[in-house]
C-alpha cells in the first residue's frame, strides 16, 4: 500500500493552500479531488476579491485559482483529479475511487478540505428542471460557458445571491428579481448596489411560494411574509421566468471527517455540522486536520489562509519545521486571518439587527439594508463623500465596515484613506489632488467608487463609473443616466470609456449629465436599451 506523509482531500482554496504550505517545507504531499479541474469553486469567482494586498484583494478569484495551481506544481505537491475519497478508516487508511477502480493508501497526516455544499430550499415545484442552486448556475456559466437560463429569479440576498446575480447579468441573462424572506439584505451593501443601479428589483420580506410549469420552470410566484415568516394573503406576484436560482446558504461537507471519527459539533453560525478543530486546524483525531469551509462557512480568502495555517501545523507535526518556525508562521497567518474576521459581516456580527451604526459611529444607510441602494440624502454623511475639489473628485459609496482597502492602495495621490484597520470606512481627503486616473474606480471590488468632475463643461458634470458588461458603450453614445435605484433620471452622453491592463477588465465609463444630477447619476444605459 502506498504511503504518503500528507494526504490533502480537496483541491479548493484551502486544500491547495495547505498543500502548498506543507510541500514548501519539504513534506511529501498528495491532493485528491473528485473534480476534473483543481481550484474548487475559485474558478467560478470571476469577481475581484475583498481584503488587503496580502489577501490578494482586487484580484479575481479565477486568477487566484490559477496562481494556486501553479504554486502547488512549483513546490511539488501532486494533485490527483477525478478521484473522490470514499472514506477514511482506522490508522489513516484512505479509500479512493479513480478510473472506475478503488484503491487504498495510507497517510501519516490528513488534511480534510472538502469545502461546503449548497443548501436547498423546498417549495412546491422546486424539483422542476430550471430550479437550481446559485452555485450551479455559476458552474454552468463561468466554468462551462453555458447560460443557466434567459430570465432568472434569484432567491437569497446573501453575498452568493448578490454576486451570482451580477454574474448572471454579465453572462447575458436577465435578472428579473432578487427575493429574500428577510427584511434586510444579507450580503455586502456594495454588492447589492451594483445590481440596484442596473435596475434589478429587490423583493425583501418576500419568499417564493411556488414554481409553476409543465416540464420545466415557466413562472415563479412570490409573496410577502410577515414578522413570523407567514405568507401574507393577497400579496402574490407572478414572474415569467425560466430559471429560479436558490442562494440560501452553504453547509460544511463534514461526512469524511465523521467517517474518520472526528468529533463533530452543530452550530447554525457555522452552517451546520462540522468537525471541531483547534487553532491549528487539528481535529480530535491525532494527525487529522481540517481546513476551510468544512470547519465552518466563511469565504475563499479566509479558506486560503486557514489552509496555510493547517499546512504549517502538519509540517510541524511531521518534523519539517521547528517549534519556533511554526509559531512564527502561525502567528503571521493568524494575524492575517483576524483582519478578515472583522467588521459588520464577520461571523460574530452577521445579521445582527442591533448593529445600526458603523464603527465610526455613523448611522448605517437604511435604504441600503432594506432596498439595496443608498438614499440620495444618506450618502453625504459618510466619509467617502467630500466636496470642495477643483475638477475631479472621488465619491466612495462604501458605507459598511467590511475588510477591504485596495482603494487606499491604488491611489497615487492618497486621496482615499482607509487607515490601518482594513474595516474602516474609506475617507476621501479634503484638499487631495484627484487626477481622475480611475484606478480606484476599477480597483474597488465593490464597484462603489465614482469620479465626479463638476466643471466638465458649462452646466454639465462628468460622472465616471465602473462598467463590466457587454456590449461596452462607446464614446459618443447617447442614452440615459440611472440613479442608484436604477431609475432613469436624465439624458446622458458617454464622453470616455477607458480600458487598461491596470483596470483588469473593469472599464471606467465617463458620462456627462446635467450638473444637478451629478450626485444621483450612477449608471448608463444606451438609447436603444429599453428600460
Amino acid at each position: 500500500m502506498k504511503r504518503y506523509e500528507l494526504v490533502v482531500i480537496g483541491a479548493g482554496p484551502s486544500g491547495l493552500s495547505a498543500a502548498i504550505e506543507a510541500a514548501s517545507h519539504g513534506m511529501q504531499t498528495i491532493v485528491f479531488d473528485e473534480n476534473l479541474r483543481p481550484g474548487g469553486q475559485l474558478f467560478k469567482q470571476i469577481h475581484k476579491f475583498f481584503g488587503s494586498k496580502e489577501h490578494m484583494a482586487r484580484i479575481r478569484g479565477i486568477d487566484i485559482g490559477s496562481k494556486l495551481v501553479d504554486q502547488a506544481k512549483e513546490v511539488g505537491a501532486e494533485v490527483v483529479l477525478g478521484a473522490p475519497v470514499m472514506g477514511i478508516y482506522p490508522h489513516k487508511d484512505i479509500c479512493v475511487h479513480k478510473d472506475n477502480k478503488v484503491f487504498t493508501c495510507k497517510a501519516d497526516n490528513i488534511i480534510i478540505a472538502t469545502g461546503a455544499s449548497e443548501n436547498a430550499l423546498a417549495f412546491p415545484g422546486w424539483t422542476l428542471p430550471g430550479v437550481m442552486g446559485a452555485g450551479s448556475a455559476q458552474t454552468q456559466m463561468n466554468l462551462h460557458g453555458i447560460k443557466p437560463g434567459s430570465r432568472i429569479l434569484m432567491m437569497g440576498s446573501g453575498n452568493v445571491g448578490l454576486v451570482v446575480g451580477m454574474q448572471l447579468k454579465q453572462a447575458g441573462c436577465e435578472l428579473v428579481a432578487l427575493v429574500d424572506a428577510s427584511p434586510r439584505i444579507g450580503g455586502y451593501g456594495v454588492h447589492a448596489a451594483k445590481l440596484s443601479r442596473t435596475g434589478v428589483p429587490f423583493y425583501l420580506g418576500h419568499t417564493i411560494v411556488r414554481a409553476e410549469g409543465k416540464d420545466r420552470v415557466e413562472r415563479a410566484v412570490i409573496a410577502e411574509v410577515d414578522s413570523k415568516w407567514q405568507l401574507v394573503p393577497g400579496t402574490e406576484k407572478t414572474f415569467d421566468v425560466d430559471t429560479i436560482c436558490i442562494a440560501v446558504g452553504l453547509s460544511p461537507m463534514y461526512q469524511l471527517a465523521m467517517s474518520a471519527g472526528c468529533e463533530l459539533n452543530d452550530d447554525p453560525k457555522k452552517g451546520g455540522t462540522y468537525p471541531i478543530v483547534d487553532e491549528y486546524g487539528a481535529t480530535s483525531v491525532d494527525g487529522i486536520f481540517a481546513a476551510g469551509d468544512v470547519t465552518g462557512i466563511e469565504e475563499a480568502s479566509s479558506a486560503m489562509i486557514g489552509g496555510r495555517i493547517v499546512g504549517a501545523a502538519a509540517a510541524y507535526r511531521a518534523g519539517y519545521i521547528t517549534k519556533e518556525e511554526h509559531e512564527k508562521i502561525h502567528k503571521q497567518y493568524t494575524d492575517s486571518l483576524m483582519q478578515l474576521r472583522q467588521g459588520m459581516f464577520a461571523g460574530k456580527n452577521k445579521g445582527n439587527p442591533n448593529i445600526i451604526q458603523t464603527d465610526e459611529g455613523i448611522e448605517l444607510s437604511q435604504f441600503l439594508l432594506k432596498k439595496g441602494y443608498i438614499g440620495n440624502d444618506e450618502i453625504m454623511r459618510f466619509p467617502g463623500y467630500e466636496t470642495g475639489f477643483e475638477g475631479f473628485r472621488p465619491v466612495v459609496e462604501c458605507t459598511q465596515n467590511i475588510p477591504c482597502n485596495p482603494c487606499q492602495d491604488v491611489c497615487p495621490n492618497k486621496c482615499i484613506i482607509v487607515g490601518d484597520n482594513i474595516t474602516g470606512l474609506p475617507a476621501v481627503q479634503k484638499g487631495a489632488k484627484c487626477t481622475g486616473c480611475g484606478l480606484c474606480v476599477s480597483a474597488c471590488p465593490g464597484q462603489a467608487i465614482f469620479l465626479i468632475n463638476e466643471k466638465f463643461e458649462q452646466g454639465k458634470a462628468a460622472v465616471s463609473l465602473p462598467y463590466e458588461f457587454l456590449p461596452l458603450p462607446q464614446k459618443g453614445d447617447k442614452g440615459y443616466a440611472l440613479d442608484r435605484s436604477g431609475n432613469k433620471i436624465c439624458e446622458a452622453e458617454v464622453v470616455d470609456v477607458k480600458t487598461s491592463k491596470a483596470y483588469d477588465r473593469t472599464n471606467v465609463l465617463t458620462m456627462k449629465v446635467p450638473f444637478e444630477f451629478k450626485n444621483q447619476a450612477r449608471f448608463f444605459v444606451g438609447e436603444k436599451e429599453g428600460l
Partner: protein, 107 residues
C-alpha cells in the same frame, strides 16, 4: 445556450467538437465538457423521470452532489452527467426509473 462573449472571461477552454447521441438523436458538444453542459447547449434540460410520480428532473447542483442529473450513459444507469466528461460517440439516454424506456413500453 452558450455564452458567446463575456466581459471578464476571455475564453472558455474547450476540447474539439465531437458528435454524441441523445435518445437516438445526433448532437454536438465539446470533448471533455460535462455531458450535462453539452445537453443544455443543445436545449435538453430534462435528464430523467422519477420512478413513482414520473416527474422530470434536471441539473440542480452541477457539482456532483445532488444526483438529480443522472442518466444512462453508454448503457450504464445512474451516471452523474454533470461530472462525466463528454466523449466522441457517447450514447446518452433519458433515464426512466433505472432504464431507458418508459414502463410498459416494448423493449
Amino acid at each position: 445556450m452558450r455564452v458567446q462573449e463575456h466581459p471578464i472571461i476571455s475564453e472558455f477552454k474547450k476540447g474539439p467538437l465531437v458528435t454524441f447521441e441523445f435518445d437516438g438523436k445526433s448532437m454536438q458538444g465539446y470533448e471533455g465538457e460535462p455531458v450535462a453542459m453539452a445537453l443544455k447547449a443543445n436545449g435538453v434540460i430534462i435528464h430523467r423521470y422519477t420512478t413513482r410520480n414520473h416527474e422530470p428532473r434536471g441539473m440542480f447542483c452541477s457539482i456532483g452532489r445532488c444526483t438529480d442529473c443522472v442518466m444512462i450513459v453508454d448503457g450504464v444507469p445512474n451516471v452523474r452527467t454533470c461530472m462525466t466528461a463528454l466523449k466522441e460517440g457517447m450514447k446518452v439516454q433519458t433515464q426512466y426509473d433505472k432504464s431507458a424506456l418508459e414502463k410498459g413500453e416494448n423493449q
